[in-house]
Amino acid sequence: MLTTTQEDILKEMYNVFVGEAANLLSEILQKRIFLSVPEVELLSIRDLDFIDKDNLIPILNGTILSTSLKFGNVFSGRAEFIFPTEQIKYVTALCLGEEYAMEAEESSFSDEDFDVVKEIGNIILNAIMGGMGSLLEMKLDYDVPQVVLHEQGEFSKTFFNSQESNILLLYVNFSVDESEVIGLILIKFSLESIEFLIQKVDEISRDVDE
């Protein structure tokens, strides 16, 4: 759905946004964060069949915590930061400077775990929404994201079953110390919004080629 150039431009921009978020996180945690090149993909929900939906993002089939925010009036949609639950205990321990002990049977999540996810989600979504806002030259209005725990498979069901017809998938892979922590960012747009975004990207592309 995206041309190579469009994808390249979006990727490069998200790179900058995510870089900023990682910088803030590394200052808070006082740890070096390793980033990978983000993957960007634009999908139309209508064109996905059931099997696609299940296999598209394997992380979504497990138990996950998501922080989500709804943004904009004219340019609108919903951004989600997804965090597989296995990672959360590790990250919380890291934040608290505690030794992480792998538990055979995962106990339930504490308020601390939720708060950590809320903050990380907030930092990342702020960087991305802020960046998107300046890219589109408009202020995107949004609130501090809320954290929701989804049991296996629950998230995909509601996520794919919605009015917004397009999803911009953004995989961000960031790791701290030895352990790999994968966060995933999904942004859903209304049809008009996606057209607007692509228009902007094309403008940028033309500007550069001039």
Partner: protein, 119 residues
């Protein structure tokens, strides 16, 4: 003047060159898509300046800096990266980069670089 722009994103290469042209309109530009290609092209193109991205497939910028400096100790490398963590910056400078610019690139940032290079 010859400038080599190393970046895995074609868009980023273009925008870097476009911005550079406003400062160095007469320079000759060459691009490389990753660290490996950068090392190959450096030997034949012999640029005066290298603008280097860090996060790239095949060979990262960090590694390319180390290898370039080993072969060409006088190489003038300017890192241009979206990864703006302090430790990343320090690492790049320790490896032998001249200076570090945060992406996105703009004319103001380049003016400073020009001052730094010309003294």
């Amino acid at each position: 003047m010859k400038i080599l722009v190393v970046d895995d994103s074609a868009f980023s290469q273009k925008i870097t060159i476009k911005t550079l042209r406003s400062i160095y309109p007469d320079a000759v530009y060459e691009t490389a898509d990753d660290g490996v290609e950068c090392i190959e092209k450096y030997g034949t193109f012999l640029p005066d300046l290298v603008f280097m991205d860090l996060l790239m497939p095949n060979m990262t910028g960090q590694e390319a800096i180390v290898q370039l400096i080993k072969k060409f100790p006088d190489a003038k490398i300017i890192v241009l990266s979206a990864d703006v963590q302090l430790t990343v910056r320090e690492e790049a400078l320790a490896a032998g980069a001249l200076t570090f610019i945060n992406k996105p690139i703009n004319v103001d940032k380049l003016e400073e670089i020009k001052l730094l290079i010309e003294g």
